[in-house]
Amino acid sequence: MYYSHQTSLCVSSYRMKRVKGDEDACSSSSEGPTESCKKVRKLQPSKEKQQEEEEEETDVDLCEFGFDWALLPQEILLNIFQFLPLLDRAYASQVCRGWNQAFHMPELWRCFEFELNQPASSYLKATHPDLIKQIIKRHSNHLQYVSFKVDSSTESAEAACDILSQLVNCSLKTLGLISTARPSFMELPKSHFISALTVVFVNSKSLSSLKIDDTPVDDPSLKVLVANNSDTLRMLKMSSCPHVSPAGILCVADQCHGLRELALNYHLLSDELLLALSSEKHVHLEHLRIDVVSENPGQHFHTIRKSSWDAMLRHSPKFNLVMYFFLYEDEFGPFFREEVPITHLYFGRSVSKDVLGRVGLHCPRLVELVVCANGLRPLDEELIRIAKRCTQLSAIGLGECEVSCSAFVEFVKMCGRRLSQLSIMEEVLIPDHKYNLDEIHWEVSKHLGRVWFPDMMPTW
């Protein structure tokens, strides 16, 4: 399948040489109109069949009036090609020179997703190595939006780095390194990864979006990024990059004043960073995503001053603060003691009633709340308080928790129709004297103004 890709590419490169200089589709078609017309005619069904199928008829009519497929303007061809998968484009490129030229139009190669998978470690197919070679050879200067999807094997991460280090004459706007299973970039020798990544940083000079979560990127390589792309960088996602220090990310925030979107782990978050992001020179921040992950049980976490958050909010009043917590219950000490401008809050592990109570007190901007687990006592007062104080709340998800049916109905009633997402596991709702499980679906639906059911799991 991919072999044919390669052949078509080779064939086409040969043809390209012959028609070199013929920028205009018309001139190339004048060179061999009869040949391409014959090909098209061959594809047409016989006279009898034509009468049966209207669509075919129109094609033939066009042909009889001197229509030539090769005369199809390149812009239209390009438009069509953009809707075709690569393989179909490769087939089409063999039809005639005009189409072959269209196949190589830079517009079709701006965006590419390299999929690097080993048959032993992934269910997914991989981009064929020959295709990769051809892209690097012929289209690397066209690439602008590139992502690498890499499975859990080190070889795949290695292959991604090999490609990266060959992207010397391209100017990427977007680069994403995505681990689809285990984070395999972390298994590479750091120096190897860094040298490949900095090739892109140095050559591109206009990177605007960079997603390098779960990679061994470090402070010096971020410095290279800043030195070459500080004017253009808008988005940086680097959750779980253990080799970056708070100083490293501060350097990015200090100099990339266009940065609007940032994702990182809590240990990189500092008051200085927030102040840098809210300096006058800096554009408004739009999204800040923080992952709070416990590496070893009982870990202590630093606190962020309320004044820093306030400065941030003054500078970017509409910014979204997304926080994911993966902590043991006893590690929440420093969090939610004072007002925090969190908008999206996700508790990936069990969180105590006490902490949820603090959330109700200190998160007035809360939009979405997800609680995966809580203890055995119902969260009634906590939810009611959240409904009362978090007036923006529009989405909530509850997993292993308990809430009495009456308190839940009260909560929904208070939030009303602004609750656009309400995902509650059925086991969460504890029937009480006021509502049983059948009644609660009615009652909640009524307050939401739409049909609602709790989420279910198979009881088999």
Binding site: F326, R349, M425
Partner: protein, 603 residues
């Protein structure tokens, strides 16, 4: 004309409520009850010793019940396609009866046998009794919109597509008439009128094989926790109903340590092998409910388990790829990891998480685990921690789980791994916390992992957190006597949530920050909510909330901006390597307008 019947047992290993068997007896001159199995195939098949033992016990029970009616069971060695021609000739068969099998593999096999029987001039009679409802009927209803929505812009009606949410399924079932009433047990008179001579050497040719004959070593085999057979099934049914009557409440019971242990009233393996008729179970429950609740007609929730089984059967009946990810139109394509070592640790119960290991040990030893325990281990293997394909987990269950039906097993695994049926994925069962919630004492773990029995309650779910002195005192050092946890759950679930989000965002083109909104939903079919309080509070058990004439049949996507059909939406835009589809280009243009969003999926 002489009628010589053969009834072919496959599932449905019972004499009560067996319509196909009744057909075999109907004015026949001779009747032979046959079970076909291939002992050479048995050892190599992916079915564990407990399941074989359960089957053989069920066959023994069937044989002994038939003896009481002066008949016998003929266990024929071989493959159906090979043995039937000689049986047809040898016994001069004119009629073949069997229970309808709705699963794609079964339908194909039965189709071939029916054709073969025709060639031999043998009449075949097939009757549905393994499921409550006619599944084709449910699918038909799912695809035919009621008149009320004729002018509605119906998204897309895929003919032959099953309901894909449980709520929708319930709504369809609610419109159906009650399941067929069960038939009585075969009687002595019925059997007597078509008595077949049993040869003296019957046992030599047709006896129920032993586990040894199938190539299993039985030395040191623990006694069965679940004894196979119709007699046992009926006894359990009585106990089950007694308990229900005694509790007199049909509400969801709170799960505790006892729920996790094999119960003498459990029925699922018996329903799987058809030792118990699902219709008998259904009508017994219904009558009991009506007796205790003064003729209230029972809500659908009373039949929870039976309906889940039915739901998955309906979902699988027309989908030969139901048990795999590739080529399965309802299954989300997720880039699972291949990791045989991790899979083996999970399957053997040596993950280092006592809760997971205890469940897997119970499964291997006894062949049954509670549904919450299934959720826990399935989540751990797939989207929760190990990121291994649900197909691998399904195969392990197929080997070990007594009640693993092809459809129910595959369907449950897809459900639990959030691979189908529009599941939110935010909620991962914690391999520590979930167990502790269910059984705070940890006695369940002590029962199945005796090594840990001296650990204090505080540490029994996470022994690696116990100080060395505690580990020493308990005579079990983590890393020496019991494995260290194979994964950091916090880190693993952080990664996996991101991966799931990535997969689902590709499906739905949703790119916002909200986690909950990234799962595409379909609007459940149900009555529009009442507008005033009086209506809402008047809901009694006589009017279950889902029955309504004003039902809308359209499958609406949660967000109107995504006009894809529900089936198509399970496949990612980038499923094919190296494709640059039109919508990707469109996305690119959008991104260029609002430059904060890059054109490749970086969100």
């Amino acid at each position: 004309m002489v009628v010589n019947s053969v009834h072919w047992f496959r599932k449905g290993l019972r004499l009560h409520d067996n319509p196909a068997l009744q057909e075999a007896l109907n004015s026949a001159d001779t009747v032979r009850c046959v079970y076909i199995l291939d002992p050479w195939f048995a050892g190599s098949a992916n079915v564990g010793i407990n399941r074989w033992r359960f089957l053989l016990e069920s066959l023994e029970d069937l044989d002994s019940s038939l003896r009481k009616l002066d008949s016998r069971l003929f266990v024929v060695r071989g493959q159906p396609a090979n043995v039937f021609p000689s049986l047809f000739k040898e016994w001069n068969v004119t009629r073949l009866t069997f229970e309808y099998d709705s699963e794609p593999y079964g339908k194909e096999r039965d189709g071939a046998i029916i054709k073969m029987a025709e060639e031999f001039g043998v009449e075949t009679i097939v009757r549905n009794s393994h499921t409550l409802y006619n599944l084709d009927r449910i699918i038909e209803m799912n695809n035919c919109p009621p008149l009320a929505v004729k002018n509605h812009p119906i998204v897309e009606m895929n003919n032959g597509s099953p309901p894909l949410t449980f709520k929708r399924f319930q709504a369809l079932v609610n419109r159906l008439e009650l399941p067929m009433k069960p038939l009585p047990t075969i009687t002595q008179e019925q059997m007597g009128s078509c008595r077949t001579k049993i040869a003296d050497n019957h046992d030599e040719h047709y006896s129920v094989p032993s586990l040894e004959e199938l190539g299993f070593k039985t030395q040191g085999l623990d006694p069965a926790v679940w004894k196979g057979g119709e007699s046992e099934a009926l006894e359990r049914l009585n106990k089950h109903l007694d308990r229900k009557a005694w509790v007199a409440s049909f509400e969801r019971a709170r799960i505790n340590m006892c729920s996790l242990i094999a119960s003498p009233t459990g029925l699922s393996p018996y329903l799987r092998f058809g030792c118990l008729s699902c219709r008998v179970f259904y009508y017994n429950l219904r009558e009991l409910y009506m007796k205790l609740r003064k003729n209230c007609s029972p809500p659908l929730s009373l039949f929870g388990q039976l309906l889940w089984r039915e739901f998955f059967y309906a979902a699988g009946t027309n989908n030969p790829n139901f048990d795999r990810m590739e080529g399965n139109p309802i299954c989300v394509q997720i880039p699972w990891d291949h990791n045989p070592e991790a899979l083996a640790k999970w399957a053997e119960g040596s993950t280092g998480f006592p809760w997971i290991d205890a469940i897997m040990t119970q499964l291997r030893q006894e062949g049954w685990i509670h549904h919450l325990a299934r959720h826990a281990v399935a989540c751990f293997l797939t989207r929760g921690d190990l990121w291994i394909s649900w197909e691998s987990g399904m195969r392990v269950f197929e080997e070990l789980l007594l009640d693993a039906d092809w459809s129910v097993n595959a369907g449950s695994w897809m459900w639990l791994s959030c691979s189908a049926f529009f599941q939110q994925f935010f909620h991962c069962y914690c391999p520590v916390g979930f167990g502790r919630r269910t059984d705070p004492s940890g006695d369940y773990i002590r029962r199945y992992i005796p090594k840990l029995k001296d650990y204090p309650n505080r540490y029994i779910y996470e022994p690696w957190r116990a100080p060395e002195s505690v580990q020493k005192a308990a005579n079990c050092i983590v890393g020496v006597d019991y494995p260290k946890p194979m994964i950091n759950h916090a880190e693993g679930s952080r990664l996996n949530i991101e991966r799931m989000k990535q997969v689902y965002q590709q499906l739905s083109h949703y790119r916002g920050l909200s986690l909950l909104a990234s799962v595409p939903t379909i609007q459940e079919e149900a009555e529009p909510p009442p507008t005033d309080d009086s209506q809402a509070s008047s809901s009694t058990c006589e009017s279950p909330p889902h029955t309504s004439s004003a039902q809308s049949n359209t499958l609406k996507r949660g967000r109107s901006s995504e006009p894809q059909s529900t089936q198509m939406c399970t496949h990612t835009k980038h499923q094919h390597t190296s494709t640059a589809k039109g919508d990707q280009v469109q996305q690119q243009e959008q991104w260029e307008e609002q430059s904060e969003h890059p054109p490749v999926d970086l969100q």
